[in-house]
Symmetry: D2
Subunit: 349 residues, 4 copies
């Protein structure tokens, strides 16, 4: 390897302000590995940072190489690393947990109090090389296609939600068909839910993808949604709702279609407080609202790897756009358009 590499660098605290240029290759500590990036994918968060929204202004310290979804090959390992070796085909868990707090020491590292995130709090994968704590690396099955391997970070979000909802044999409504919602539809179907009802707001492209990936029914989100879901479920409602939209009206619909004793699994983030009729919709009906974030380290990764290995779910149709890294802005505009599944950067070799 050379000492310089190509990377997309957010160069200063402003909208846009991202240059694809040569920078020094990252150094690694004795417990890290250097990984050659073969493919990386774009998360909605990357668009927020690009646009320099309020959250970004408080969190991000440029210059920064973004990117927390990837697959690649281990190029070099630190002196104390034994869990991976040069040449391994890997992806990484983007959340770096401290390992010392109560949450980390009781199996809840995904809500570690001292969490740092690849591509947000330190340089990420929109580059030819990335340094990663070895503990965060996960070896991929050699047969896993690159375009699936790279999307395992958001797929892990979806899998954590679906596994939390224990879907086999149950009726499931999925609100919000962005990439994670679409993945959840595919996984829910692959786990033999009795019916998968997917709901999206004005996005025919994504509704089509949902159908293709396994949703039994795809509905437009409008004033009739609640009634249509009740019709589809013998007027009893669904067992569980998976909420990825982050849209308050969707959550209100969710609470009207979930059956008594059911669960609403929340991963989509709401940009403002949400008003809920807790008494009638939640308490009197014995409903549970689960806040879900990240991936269980590393239980979710093993579950995800196993589900992919089953051969029951094919996510390749989800990757709709591929760009070289130097078309960074063009790729982000596709993400912004919402006329896409996942958008990936393929690294030139």
């Amino acid at each position: 390897m050379t000492e310089m590499m190509k990377a997309a660098v957010k160069v200063r605290a402003a909208p846009g302000a991202t240059q694809v240029k040569k920078v020094p290759c990252p150094k690694i500590t004795p417990t890290e590995a250097l990984v050659r990036v073969k493919i990386a994918s774009i998360c909605g968060t990357d668009l927020h940072i690009f646009d320099w929204d309020e959250w970004s202004q408080h969190r991000i310290r440029p210059p920064l190489i973004q990117g927390h979804e990837m697959a690649g090959e281990v190029e070099r390992i630190g002196d104390e690393v034994t869990s991976v070796a040069k040449g391994d085909y890997v992806s990484f868990e983007g959340h770096i947990a401290c390992g010392r707090c109560y949450e980390c020491r009781t199996g809840q590292a995904h809500v570690c109090r001292n969490l740092r995130i690849m591509g947000i709090d330190r340089d990420g994968a929109f580059a030819e090389y990335v340094s990663v704590p070895a503990a965060n690396l996960v070896k991929n099955d050699p047969s896993l296609p690159l375009e699936v391997a790279t999307i395992q970070d958001p797929l892990g979000n979806a899998v954590q939600v679906v596994m939390n909802a224990n879907v086999p044999g149950k009726s499931i409504a999925i609100f919000g068909l962005g990439p994670i919602g679409l993945m959840a539809a595919a996984v829910t179907k692959a786990l033999s839910a009795s019916q998968v009802i997917a709901v999206e707001y004005r996005n025919e492209m994504r509704k089509g993808l949902a159908k293709r990936l396994g949703a039994d029914v795809v509905l437009e989100s409008d004033a009739t949604t609640v009634d249509r879901i009740l019709e589809l479920t013998n007027r009893e409602g669904v067992n569980e709702v998976l909420e990825f939209s982050g849209a308050p009206p969707a959550l209100k619909q969710a609470l009207k279609v979930v059956r008594p004793g059911g669960g609403v699994h929340l991963l989509g983030l709401y940009s403002s407080p949400v008003s809920l009729d807790l008494s009638d919709d939640v308490i009197m009906r014995g409903v549970t609202l689960y806040g879900i974030t990240g991936r269980r380290m590393f239980r979710t990764w093993y579950e995800m790897g196993g589900i992919l290995r089953s051969g029951n779910v094919d996510l390749k149709p989800l990757v709709t756009h591929r760009f070289p890294l130097h078309e960074y802005e063009k790729a982000l505009e596709v993400v912004r358009s919402r006329q896409c599944g996942k958008v990936v950067f393929e690294m030139e070799t």
Copy 2:
């Protein structure tokens, strides 16, 4: 027994309008039992019906004998009843489940879709006799004092919440020290929570009771509550929050003091929608909100009976006022004052 009995009857659809008078003894069907009431206790719901609030106007059809908390003795059984016998010392589960809906057939009868409630949808226990479906009767341990036996319906609410929170060894905050919150404090302490922090708003009498029943710390609900709970928990927050207040500000405090990955268990009802910062408080921190109602039929009753039998919890101090049935309005005024624990009617014999 005679054919007439004394009862407190809500005689018409209006505030107050309750007369203690002689009425015919209830008949029983082949699957019911007639129970002689020895003691009955007043629930907040009884005050709502007395006051004829909006909920009552929609639900209650006078004339009605209220009362869904009691203990007494089986007087007579229907032809098909084998589970209880004349002379048995019993209390009843006030929720009558249909037994046929999905919820009933999957162990969730407490959220049965066709639920009817004793003392609300049919005549209850503020009378010398009450007819009860035999399946709803629970035999009490002979050593159980009457004043504890009668409060098992609300105690079952508390026990369901506490068992749901799996409290042993955990730090627990309890918001709202009405009778159910007080019971929860006693049970949480009896199950060896690491610390029991109880919070109430302007009610020294109940705060004193909380201390006596087992709370380690009792706090006033004010602008300092969150900070004081964080101080008490090494600035990490409590493992679980039990919310009985039904006050939106308390719920907001609850979400600030629960640790990442923790649970907030909601039993107190809110009189209006509540606005929540779901993203920061719930989703990003992996918090779960559990809506809880009623008692698991009949798992909670067995758990409750067992906890009482352990001898680790003494609820007699909670029963602060006793009245004969003919002082009905006086008793309800004590409940209204909130300067009380549980208020009971002792039937004249």
Copy 3:
């Protein structure tokens, strides 16, 4: 309907001794329904009773109509029945629980202390008509084929085991490819286990069926089985073992191939005590042994119905032989041969 019907009757306490003949149609009580049998299937237990083994001698009181797996149509209902109506397409849960014991009242009716079983403790479904407690009837989806509807009792066994093992994404070994083991293989695959390894002893026919129904790998049970499973699992073992063989050597293999912290789910019955190295195989490795019987009433039935509705599992290939009822002995001989999947009686109409 006429007053007489055709039935296969075990006429006396002896091997064989079963006559297909005309007998009076069953009466029903006010809480029962009379069901016209369209199809019924044979369980291994039916062969034990036919052969009059030791267990049968203690349990069965001839004359008896056997048969606890069926599908049919409601012909008539008792006066108090509201859950089904004439013409409904139904199957039944064969276990009749008392509803009054601790187990029944805490969601464990499948291990009711006073359990009675259709076709064992009262007349069953090897007849033109059968009377069934209405609470035991389950309505089938109209699209469910008769040959699948009839095998829901054993399929429910399999589904209870598979759901208990929480298989999605996990590696699973299944020992014993009798009909229930075969069903478990199909369901495990349909729930996206990472790999389904099925093991059988000298039965190529059933090994072929396992492959066809979804097993990824099918192994002969011999001295190499443990090593081959370890090879297939990176020498780490499988997450969970489903044990349907009832063969002590299979259980010993199971304990050698399950990974630390895993579970062994036991449904197959052992005809004699089994000697286990509990310290090394179970305790020091944190393994759990689950005894499983029957079906969760009625959670398993809903899960099963939902999994079938998903369309991910096709059990029709499992039904390998069909007979009219008057070929009773011939059908039982096929079951005895073990060269079959499920064997069914189709009722003449």
Copy 4:
């Protein structure tokens, strides 16, 4: 500190062969801490190693300083240690997990495939100083008495078992009243089990301790045990059995007294294979057998700390004998006699 310290050293591969003598103080790596031992306690395993039983011959490589139960003060920390500081009052988890295997990465580090144990696979705490991986250290509450702090390793065994059995309100039988069984009795009582029935074989001293620590009933293990437990439980059996005896007859009794759907929690090790009637006792009754070992890292430690902090359990009576380290053999003879609770070494200061 000086460079030499006093330690009890197993000097060669033979029975006894343990000398209390001066040896060099241990070195620490950058991720370890040096801890000054204030108190240490003796485990049954220490007696096995002293006696050089078959297991020891295969596992232990002298010279070795034994001892995996202790409390003390951090004397010095390695360069990379941030989780503890000099002067901290600590105990340690004796199991050193690899952190890289599937079990470690999925919250099952207590059954890590590469487990090493303090005082068994590396030098332990029967010395003035011990080096410990910092990740294994747990800070004690300052108010925790030394004699309780030192027994947290076995107490953690007991707490893991009791928490696994979810005891509040349940009837519990405890077989085997060695120190861990006694601790389990105390904790079970402190968690408000409905009744705690303890069983021991010919050891009045320990039966007396069980009573003092919280058992409601203490029974002799003999031919009447099963019947007496059934009498105490309305002939229904106990909800859960905690098995610490490691005696096959006790396990057989356990299976006869556990109710259908209940659990048997196995921690005591059996010196030879055990023959079980799995069909009648386990499978047909839906019983679960849990193999339990070690402590959940570190959930059990937090639970244990919390339960101790509740003040509901007092374990000081359990520590019956105290010795200086130079009376090593005398202390071990007391353990051998079984006429004791826990036996501790108090380090001279």
